[in-house]
């Protein structure tokens, strides 16, 4: 293949629009990130379309999780971190000085690799985001619990034991509870960091079905190392390699007609 391995990206170039013609909710604009001396994200520019599932794939250490955590500035917790460039949520800069990261994170919730429910009741787990927001009205909390647990397809399994400890649930249930917790505050974007990597196949397929359902209400960005999963759930797939975004396109195109040799090599299993 004669195409250059890496997309040329001039500083003046705007991030390309999301593939498939959807409206861009989140734009990453010439984003660079360093952990100390390590340049972990190199000039990443991309857009995420509204109510689409975008999968970030790539070999270990390619920066896909780092990119995901940069979107809601969860990386701020790490010392020695430096960034350049910007991320925009519906046109609002995320990295500008004075941005209230707390309200930002309320607009972009996150589900983690390993299910991490709080050692509290199921009910309290779901309403955590509302409680820290100062919500005390019982009807509002009750409504959010039912809506979120239904949204996360776990309501029928837990509705009779809402006040039991969340730690009594199975791994797959816990992960769906974490998804319910993430959507309880009605975020715009749902970030998922390998949400199925600690689950068994049955629980995984439940969560995958759920992700496809969630697309109706949320913009979903999912990091996965499982290419079949990306192919199953994602509308758009982005391939990252060594801290760069190599290629981004509709999932069928990426898997069937990759434009770059690295993408093809990864998809066909030659590395990663």
């Amino acid at each position: 293949m004669a195409t250059p391995a890496i997309l040329p990206s001039a500083p003046e170039m705007k991030p390309p629009p999301p593939p498939g013609g959807a409206k861009a909710v989140l734009e990453v604009d010439h984003f660079n990130l360093w952990y100390g001396p390590t340049h972990a994200l190199k000039d990443v520019s991309m857009s995420f379309g509204e109510r689409q599932v975008t999968a970030l794939i790539g070999p270990s250490g390619c920066g896909k999780s780092t990119l995901l955590r940069s979107l809601n500035r969860l990386n701020d917790l790490i010392d020695n971190l430096r960034t350049e460039g910007d991320v925009r949520l519906r046109g609002d800069s995320v990295y500008r000085r004075g941005v209230d990261v707390i309200s930002l994170r309320k607009r972009m919730s996150m589900v983690f690799q390993r299910q991490n429910p709080f050692p509290k009741s199921i009910y309290e787990n779901v309403v955590f985001g509302l409680r820290v927001d100062g919500e005390k009205r019982k009807p509002v909390l009750d409504e959010a619990v039912e809506r979120s647990l239904r949204g996360a397809a776990i309501w029928d399994e837990v509705k009779d034991r809402l006040h039991k400890s969340a730690l009594e649930l199975s791994g797959g249930q816990q992960q769906r509870l974490c998804i319910a917790r993430a959507i309880a505050t009605r975020p715009e974007v749902l970030l998922m960091d390998e949400p199925c990597s600690a689950l068994d196949p049955i629980a995984t397929s439940k969560v995958e079905d759920l992700i496809i359902d969630l697309k109706r209400d949320f913009t979903v960005i999912i990091v996965t190392h499982n290419m079949q999963q990306a192919a199953r759930v994602a509308d758009v797939t982005a391939f990252m390699y060594l801290g760069r975004l190599i290629e981004m396109g509709e999932t069928t195109q990426i898997f069937e007609r990759p434009r770059f040799s690295e993408t093809e090599a990864y998809i066909t299993g030659r590395y990663g």
Binding site: L77, R105, F112, R114, F118, A166
Partner: protein, 566 residues
């Protein structure tokens, strides 16, 4: 060319295997644990056996010696002792003979030679008397006497004698106990209230004399008013005092004359109110003995000490220890947790914070007496002195807060134990999984909300471990208390029914100091030695109870925090 590959044998030499598998090390760890257990069990056993046997009613034995004398006492132990310059070994019996007033200044303990004993018996009519003063008496009741005043002359009339005397004494003791109760109610109630008001008025008078201007026109009037109030209070005090005096006079009218086991009368009759209990220990059945032992233990832990802490109970010391430990915990836990939170969660980790951490850890190694000196200088003299000058100037030079007190002692001990809490809390905070912190942050919690709602609850079992260690350390500490507020005998409890209920400036009694006092400062070593064991036992039990409470709480918290199932 190809050297044959050497495969390691599947059955290595037993010796090599011994060391590879580490069996010797496992054995060393086992031995270490066993040794430790042995020592702990040994200490507890010694304390428990000696401490509890004090309460067991021993038989009163009547020894007839070969020279014809008769000795009555409780046998404490037998020992083979070396006697004389030739160091001849002979068996001797150590007896508690009581009757201190009869032996004329001698102790109430005595050694006799086993060889001198001609015969022993345990007559059932021998009685053990518990008395307010002079320790126990052993013997019989000879006469019950009533003092009469005839023609202005005091005259003793024998009411009962011999066999009837004991019954008469028991009736008299009941009456005496009722009188004592009535007297205490008067003294601790009305008399105390009036005398407190008198003290306040005296303070006011002193202030008036110091500050008022004698030339001012209102001076005479105000002085008159104060004097009138003083007179009114004195008039109020007098009838109560008269009642108390009447009760005491009545006490002096009912006397009893005891005799020892050999039949010798005591030098003089004593008021019946001096006798607290009579037990016919030799006539007791086994359940009776158990009941008496339980009763003695109960009185030991619920009554105040008597006779320079060589007799009576230790209730004020238990009370002081528990209260001091609780006040200390109330200070040390919030203080330590806040410090640890800052060090671990907020401060930027660096040389400075490491230095602070090392300093905190080293604080745990500073001798406790140094903390005592610091507490005395800083809390008692500086802070307490300032409080006295600012709020209680009329009482000076008598210090209110400017001397030792339970508040200063608790604060000193919380300084002493704060490193334990800080270290334990820091460990607990560090052990909160990163995933939980991220989950909270990703839900839109601020850092403080994350700490408050996720980190602290998760760290609470660890924080409680720190609290348990601090309490155990604090409850057993003595040296700093000796400088900052502990006292040999406290008149009032630091927490009582009198407003404002908690008296942070009061000195208090403490089990640890009580141990030191009975063990090393006692005027009567033989009588106080068993009390040392009993007090230690109570202190151990108390620390155990405090710790068990905290451990139960911790386990309940841990259950809630247990990790998920997979």
């Amino acid at each position: 060319m190809d050297a044959p590959t050497r495969h390691p044998p599947l059955r290595p030499s037993p010796f090599g295997r011994l060391f590879r598998d580490g069996h010797p090390w496992v054995w060393i760890t086992r031995c270490g644990t066993a040794l430790l257990l042995l020592m702990v069990v040994g200490i507890v056993a010694i304390v428990a056996v000696n401490g509890l046997s004090t309460f067991w009613p021993r038989r009163l034995v009547r020894y007839e010696l070969k020279d014809g004398t008769v000795v009555v006492g409780e046998e404490i132990r037998r020992e083979v002792r070396k006697v004389g310059q030739a160091s001849v070994e002979e068996t001797q019996v150590f007896l508690r003979v009581g009757n201190r007033d009869l032996s004329g200044g001698g102790g109430d303990f005595r050694w006799i030679r086993a060889d001198d004993i001609r015969a022993t018996s345990t007559p059932e009519d021998l009685l053990a008397f518990e008395r307010m003063e002079h320790g126990p008496a052993y013997g019989r009741v000879r006469q019950v006497i009533e003092v009469e005043t005839v023609d202005g002359k005091r005259r003793n009339r024998v009411v009962a004698e011999g066999a009837a005397a004991r019954a008469a004494l028991e009736t008299g003791m009941e009456a005496a106990a009722a009188r004592r109760e009535a007297r205490l109610e008067l003294q601790e109630g009305e008399m105390d209230r009036v005398s407190k008001r008198q003290n306040e008025l005296n303070d006011e008078l002193r202030r008036f004399q110091r500050e008022a201007d004698p030339t001012s026109p209102s001076f005479a009037g105000r002085k008159q008013a104060l004097d009138a109030r003083k007179a009114a209070l004195d008039a109020e005090f007098e009838p109560v005092a008269a009642k108390v005096r009447a009760i005491l006079a009545e006490d002096r009218r009912h006397l009893v004359l005891l005799e020892d086991g050999a039949g010798n009368a005591f030098p003089k009759p004593v008021p019946m109110s001096q006798i607290l209990r009579i037990d016919a220990v030799n006539a007791l059945s086994f359940p009776g003995r158990v009941g008496l032992a339980v009763g003695r233990f109960w009185r030991f832990v619920t009554e105040a000490p008597r006779e320079a802490n060589t007799d009576g109970g230790i209730w004020p010391a238990i009370y002081g220890t528990v209260l001091m430990t609780l006040i200390m915990t109330m200070f040390v836990v919030p203080f330590g947790v806040l410090a640890a939170l800052y060090l671990r969660e907020y401060a930027k980790q660096g040389v400075m914070i490491s230095a602070v951490r090392i300093a905190v850890n080293n604080l745990a190694g500073v001798p406790s007496i140094v903390f005592g000196v610091f507490g005395l200088g800083f809390f008692c003299y500086l802070v307490g002195g300032w409080i006295d000058r600012s709020f209680f100037p009329e009482k000076l030079p008598t210090p209110t807060f400017g001397g030792g007190g339970i508040l200063w002692a608790s604060l000193t001990l919380s300084l002493l134990t704060v490193p334990v809490v800080i270290v334990a809390t820091e460990e607990a905070l560090a052990a909160v999984p990163r995933s939980l912190r991220e989950a909270a942050i990703a839900c839109g919690a601020s850092k403080w909300q994350m700490i408050r709602r996720v980190v602290l609850p998760h760290a609470s079992p660890g924080i409680l471990t720190g609290m348990i260690l601090a309490m155990a350390r604090g409850a057993g500490e003595v040296a700093p208390l000796m400088l900052t507020g502990v006292i040999k005998l406290a008149e009032d409890l630091p927490l009582d029914g009198e407003a404002p209920f908690l008296h942070p400036e009061r000195r208090f009694m403490h089990l640890g100091f009580h141990l030191y006092d009975t063990g090393f400062q006692s005027p009567n070593v033989d009588a106080s030695t068993p009390l040392v064991y009993s007090t230690t036992l109570v202190l151990l039990g108390l620390v155990l109870v405090l710790n068990l409470g905290a451990i139960l709480l911790r386990n309940r918290l841990r259950k809630r925090m247990r990790t998920g199932v997979f």
